[in-house]
C-alpha cells in the first residue's frame, strides 16, 4: 500500500488558513471549506523564544508525557492527621500560600493569618504580639505550602497543630496535603484572627480532626476524590468557588463511620452540621487532588505545561514542568467581582491563595460552563461562562476525558495550561477567586474573577527557550 497524499480522497480538503485573509478568501472562492484562524501577534518580544521552544524536538513528547502523567493520577483520601506528623512541621515553622515571601513583603491577610496561627500555637498570647515576633524573625520561619507537597487556600497558613487531609496516588504512593476548611466569613485563611476564629480552630484541632481521622481510617473503601470531582462537575460545581455537591458526597462517604466512631454523639452531630453547613468544605480536597495530578507532570525536560499557579497576596507565581522548581512571579492583581456588605474594591487585597491549583488542573474558572449557578457570584453571565471554558481550550494541551461538561456536549475540561499558547494568544488563565480584606483581621470581602499578571508567561517562556537552546 502506498501512502497517498493526505488530501487525496472523495471529499475535498478543508483548509485551515492562518494569516492574510486574502488567501483564505482565494481558497473559499474555489468552493473549499476554510477554517479561519483569528491570529494576532504574540505577546511583545516573544517571537524568537516561541520559535525556539516550538522547534525544541523534546517538546511534543514531553508535553504528551506530562499530560498523560497528570491524567493518570487518581487521588484517594487515605488519612487525616496533624501537620506536625505528616509534614514534619515543627514549632515556629509556618507554611503559607503562593511563592516564597518574607514577613516584610507579606500583605494584610497573610500577616493576619500568621498572627492568628502564632496565637493558635501558643507562641504568643495575643495575636497582636506576633507582629514583633515575625519582625524579629527569631525562631519562626515561612515556607510555601507547595514546597512540602501541600496547598493552602487564601493565606494558606498551616501550623504544626493543624489537621491535614492526606491524599494518595495509589499507583506511586505519592501524597499531597491540605488543611481542613474553616467555613466562610471571619476565618483565618482570609486573615481574620479574633477569638471566634481561634475558638473554631481549636475545636477543629480537638474534635473535628480526630473525628475525621477515625472516620477515614474506619471507612473500608477510601474516598475517590478524583471520582467525586467527576460527579460534582456534572452537578453544577466547578470545584473552586462552588463545592456544594462535592461536600455532600464526601459526607455520604464519611458519615457512617463518623456515627460509629465511638465519639460523643453531640460532637458527631456538631461535626456533621459544620461540614454540611459549609459549602466550601470539599475545596480543601479538590485542591490537593489537583496538586497530586499536576505534580505527576513536573520535571519533564522540554515540557511547557504549567504545574502550579499560586499567589501569596503580594505576588502571583507559576511553576512549569520543564523548568523545575523555579517560580516565575509578578504582582498579584485585584479580582473583579462582587463585594460583601458595603465593602468595595478599595477594601480588597490583591489575589491570594494556592486555590488556583484547580484552574491549573482544568477546573474552577476553566470549568465555568458547568457551573451556571455561580456565574453571578463571580460577576458574570451564563454566556460568559460558556465562552470562558471554550476560551481556555485555546491555551491548554488537552481535554480531561474524566471531567466533562454536559452543556458543552460533554467535552472534557481544558487541561494543562501551555505557556507557549498563553504567549501566542495573549489569553490569560481565568481564575475564580475569593477576595480577602486588605487589612489584617478583616476576613473575606468578596469574590470574583482574576487573571495572572501577563508578564510571568514570557518570563517562563524565556527560561524554556534557554533550556531548549542549551539542549541542542
Amino acid at each position: 500500500m502506498s501512502t497517498p497524499l493526505v488530501t487525496v480522497g472523495a471529499t475535498s480538503p478543508t483548509v485551515v488558513a492562518c494569516g492574510a485573509d486574502m488567501f483564505a478568501d482565494a481558497v473559499a472562492g474555489q468552493a473549499v471549506d476554510v477554517e479561519r484562524v483569528d491570529w494576532r501577534p504574540p505577546m511583545p518580544g516573544t517571537e524568537a523564544d516561541l520559535a525556539a521552544v516550538a522547534t525544541d524536538p523534546r517538546r511534543p513528547e514531553a508535553n504528551r508525557r506530562a499530560v498523560e502523567a497528570m491524567l493518570g493520577v487518581t487521588a484517594h483520601l487515605v488519612d487525616v492527621a496533624p501537620a506536625s506528623e505528616v509534614l514534619g512541621l515543627e514549632r515556629g515553622q509556618f507554611l503559607h500560600a503562593g511563592p516564597p515571601i518574607a514577613w516584610e513583603q507579606a500583605s494584610g491577610p497573610l500577616r493576619g493569618a500568621l498572627m492568628g496561627g502564632a496565637a493558635l500555637e501558643g507562641l504568643v498570647d495575643d495575636p497582636e504580639d506576633a507582629v514583633a515576633l515575625f519582625e524579629s524573625g527569631s525562631n519562626v520561619s515561612l515556607e510555601p505550602c507547595h514546597h512540602r507537597s501541600a496547598v493552602g487556600p487564601m493565606a494558606g497558613v498551616v501550623t504544626p497543630s493543624m489537621w491535614m487531609w492526606v491524599l494518595e496516588d495509589r499507583a506511586t504512593g505519592r501524597r499531597t496535603y491540605c488543611s481542613l476548611n474553616e467555613g466562610l466569613g471571619k476565618v483565618l485563611r482570609y486573615g481574620a484572627y479574633n477569638d471566634e476564629v481561634l475558638t473554631r480552630l481549636r475545636w477543629m484541632g480537638d474534635v473535628l480532626g480526630p473525628l475525621l481521622q477515625a472516620a477515614v481510617r474506619g471507612t473500608a473503601e477510601a474516598s475517590d476524590v478524583t471520582g467525586i470531582l467527576t460527579q460534582m462537575l456534572q452537578m453544577g460545581d466547578e470545584a473552586h468557588n462552588r463545592n456544594r455537591a462535592g461536600t455532600l458526597m464526601l459526607l455520604r462517604d464519611l458519615s457512617p463511620a463518623m456515627v460509629t466512631s465511638g465519639f460523643d454523639a453531640k460532637d458527631v452531630s456538631e461535626a456533621l452540621r459544620f461540614v454540611g453547613g459549609n459549602d466550601h468544605f470539599f475545596l480543601n480536597l479538590a485542591m490537593p487532588a489537583c496538586k497530586l495530578a499536576l505534580d505527576a507532570g513536573r520535571d519533564i525536560p522540554g515540557s511547557t505545561m504549567v504545574v502550579a499557579m499560586a499567589r501569596n497576596g503580594t505576588e502571583f507565581g507559576i511553576q512549569v514542568s520543564g523548568t523545575g522548581d523555579q517560580w516565575f512571579t509578578g504582582p498579584a492583581q485585584v479580582a473583579e467581582g462582587l463585594f460583601l456588605g458595603d465593602y468595595g474594591p478599595d477594601d480588597a487585597n490583591p489575589d491570594i491563595g494556592d486555590s488556583a491549583i484547580t484552574e491549573t488542573a482544568g477546573i474552577g474558572g476553566f470549568a465555568m460552563a458547568t457551573a451556571p449557578a455561580i456565574v453571578r457570584l463571580v460577576g458574570g453571565t451564563v454566556p460568559d461562562a460558556l465562552a470562558t471554558t471554550r476560551r481556555m481550550h485555546e491555551i491548554t494541551l488537552a481535554e480531561n476525558p474524566r471531567w466533562s461538561v454536559p452543556v458543552l456536549e460533554f467535552q472534557g475540561t481544558p487541561t494543562g495550561i501551555d505557556v507557549t499558547k498563553v504567549c501566542r494568544t495573549g489569553i490569560l488563565p481565568q481564575i475564580n477567586t475569593g477576595m480577602a480584606g486588605a487589612v489584617a483581621g478583616v476576613g473575606q470581602v468578596g469574590a470574583g474573577l482574576v487573571t495572572p499578571p501577563a508578564e510571568i508567561f514570557p518570563q517562563a517562556l524565556a527560561a524554556l527557550a534557554d533550556a531548549a537552546r542549551a539542549a541542542r
Partner: protein
C-alpha cells in the same frame, strides 16, 4: 494641509488588509494621503518618506497616518478608517463560538483531511506550522523571513511525522486542483510538480496549460511547493524528498517535474539519484548556469508525453522599437522569473547586478535607489524577503515596483525594461489596472521598449485576455513565456549595440 498620526496599541490586521484599508481611506473626502500600517521598520520608512512624524512605537502597534485638506473633517476621516477596519474581523456575539486563535486549535475543529495554510509574519510562522506538523497534517507556509535553522527544525520534525511542509516562502501550491497561495487555475492532467520556486511553478503551470488544450494527460494534478531554500545545502531537500515520495505513490501521476531556483550542487546531485530510484519518471528543471530555461523544460515535458510544443503566444510586438539605451532593467515580482532572466541575460550581455545575485560580487542594495540604477544591467526581485518585511508581496502591493519603474524609465541609460505580471488566485483582482498606467507613464517621454511576461491562464479569475490587452494598450509587448520575453529584450539590446 494637516497631518494626523496616531498609534493604536493592541490593534492588529495583516498587511494586505491594511493595504486595502489605506486605499479605502485615501478615497475618503478631504483625505490627501493615508497610510494605515503596522509599525514595522519598513513601514516606518515609508511613513517617514511620506513626511509623517511617527512617535516611538513597537511593531505590534498599528499606525494611522492621515494627511487632510485644511478644511477636511478629521472625525469623518477617522470614521472612514474605522469603517474600513471593521470587516477585517468577524463579529462575535456572546453566544457564538469564538474563532480559533491558533492553527492547532483550528485543526482540532476540522477533519483529518485538513491542510494548513500559514501566511502570518515570518517571525511567527514556524510556531503555527509546527502546530500542523504536530497534528500530522500537511502545511503550506507562505510566509517568508523565516530563519533557515527554524526551517530545518520544522522539516526534520515533519519527516518523523510523515507530514509535508510546503515552504517557508512557498508562494504556490495546487493540491487536488485547489490552489493555495498564488496559484493559477489549470485543467487537471497526469503531471505532478515539485517546486522549490513559486513563480517557476506558475510559469510551468501556465505553459503546460496553454500547450495542453485538448491533449491527453497534459495538465497538472498536484503542484507541491517546497520553498525556495529547500534545495539549499542547509535544508538539503527535506521537503522535496517527501513530495517526490507522495507523487511517486500517486497512481494518477505519470510524470513528475521538479522545478527549482539554482540549487546547491551537492543537493542537486543527490536529488538526481533519488529521482532515478523512483518508479515514476522525473524531469528535472533546475535553473542554473548552462541549464535549460523553464520554457525549454516545459517543451521537454511535452515531448516526453508525446506532444509537440506550440509556438508560445506574443502580443503587442508593434509597440516595440529599438532599445533606447545600453542597459537592461528587469523589475520582477517573481523571484524565479528574475533568476531565469538573469541567467539568460548574463550569458549574452555580461554581468547583471541584482538583490538576488547569481554571485556575491553582483549584489546590489535593494533599499538604495542609487544602487538599483547602477551603471550595469540590473534585475530586482521585489518579492525578496528584504523588500517584503512587514509589507505585502508585490503581487498584491505594486507600489515599490511602480516607483522603480518610473525611476528606471527616467534614467537615459535604460534601454529595455523587462517586467513580469502574475495572475491567479491570491493575486490582485485586476493587476494590469495598476501596472498599465505605470507603463504608459514610463513610456511618455521616450518610447522605451517594455517587455512583459504575463503568467496566467484563460481560467484565471482575472481573465488572461483582458489583462494582456490592457498591457498592450499601454505600450507593452506581452509574452506568455518569460524565457521568450527575456530573449526578446536581449535581442533588442544586442541590436542597439551592433
Amino acid at each position: 494641509m494637516k497631518d494626523h498620526v496616531e498609534l493604536r496599541s493592541g490593534a492588529y490586521a495583516d498587511s494586505v488588509t491594511l493595504l486595502q484599508v489605506s486605499r479605502a481611506v485615501q478615497a475618503a473626502p478631504g483625505v490627501v494621503a493615508a497610510q494605515v500600517a503596522m509599525a514595522t521598520g519598513l513601514n516606518l520608512e515609508v511613513l517617514t518618506g511620506m513626511g509623517f512624524d511617527v512617535p516611538a512605537s513597537s511593531p505590534n502597534d498599528m499606525v494611522v497616518a492621515l494627511r487632510l485638506d485644511d478644511d477636511a473633517d478629521l472625525a469623518a476621516a477617522l470614521a472612514a478608517v474605522d469603517a474600513a477596519l471593521v470587516p477585517a474581523r468577524p463579529a462575535s456575539g456572546a453566544s457564538e463560538v469564538a474563532p480559533p486563535r491558533t492553527t492547532g486549535s483550528a485543526l482540532r475543529r476540522t477533519g483529518a483531511d485538513a491542510v494548513a495554510l500559514v501566511s502570518v509574519p515570518g517571525a511567527s510562522a514556524t510556531v503555527e506550522a509546527m502546530d500542523a506538523v504536530e497534528a500530522g497534517r500537511d502545511v503550506m507556509v507562505f510566509s517568508d523571513n523565516v530563519p533557515v535553522e527554524e526551517e530545518v527544525a520544522l522539516k526534520t520534525y515533519a519527516t518523523s511525522r510523515g507530514a509535508l511542509v510546503m515552504g517557508p516562502d512557498c508562494g504556490t501550491a495546487v493540491i487536488d486542483g485547489v490552489g493555495l497561495g498564488f496559484a493559477n487555475t489549470t485543467r487537471p492532467g497526469r503531471i505532478g510538480l515539485v517546486a522549490a520556486s513559486g513563480t517557476g511553478c506558475q510559469q510551468l503551470l501556465v505553459l503546460l496549460h496553454h500547450a495542453g488544450a485538448g491533449l491527453d494527460g497534459v495538465g497538472v494534478t498536484h503542484a507541491l511547493g517546497v520553498g525556495g531554500r529547500d534545495l539549499s545545502a542547509a535544508v538539503g531537500g527535506l521537503s522535496t524528498r517527501e513530495a517526490l515520495r507522495r507523487l511517486d505513490a500517486d497512481p494518477d501521476v505519470d510524470l513528475v517535474v521538479v522545478v527549482s531556483k539554482p540549487p546547491a550542487p551537492e543537493v542537486a546531485e543527490a536529488l538526481a539519484k533519488d529521482a532515478e530510484a523512483l518508479a515514476t519518471p522525473v524531469e528535472l528543471g533546475l535553473l542554473g548556469r548552462g541549464q535549460r530555461d523553464l520554457t525549454t523544460v516545459a517543451e521537454a515535458v511535452l515531448e516526453r508525453l508525446g506532444h509537440t510544443a506550440p509556438a508560445w503566444p506574443v502580443a503587442g510586438e508593434d509597440n516595440t522599437g529599438a532599445a533606447t539605451g545600453p542597459l537592461l532593467r528587469g523589475l520582477f515580482v517573481g523571484g524565479t522569473l528574475c533568476d531565469e532572466s538573469m541567467l539568460m541575460a548574463s550569458e549574452v550581455l555580461g554581468p547583471v547586478r541584482s538583490n538576488i545575485p547569481l554571485s556575491p560580487e553582483l549584489a546590489l542594495d535593494s533599499t538604495d535607489p542609487g544602487d538599483l540604477l547602477a551603471d550595469t544591467h540590473t534585475m530586482v526581485d521585489f518579492g525578496d524577503d528584504a523588500l517584503t518585511q512587514g509589507r505585502a508581496h508585490p503581487m498584491i502591493d505594486p507600489t515599490l515596483r511602480n516607483e522603480q519603474l518610473a525611476r528606471a524609465a527616467a534614467d537615459p541609460r535604460t534601454g529595455v525594461i523587462l517586467l513580469d505580471l502574475v495572475l491567479g488566485h491570491g493575486a490582485e483582482p485586476d493587476p494590469a489596472s495598476l501596472l498599465a498606467p505605470a507603463i504608459r507613464e514610463a513610456r511618455a517621454d521616450r518610447a522605451i521598449p517594455v517587455i512583459v511576461s504575463l503568467v496566467g491562464t484563460d481560467l484565471d479569475p482575472q481573465g488572461l485576455d483582458a489583462q494582456r490587452d490592457a498591457l498592450v494598450a499601454a505600450g507593452a509587448e506581452v509574452h506568455l513565456s518569460n524565457a521568450a520575453a527575456t530573449r526578446r529584450a536581449i535581442q533588442l539590446l544586442e541590436g542597439a549595440r551592433a
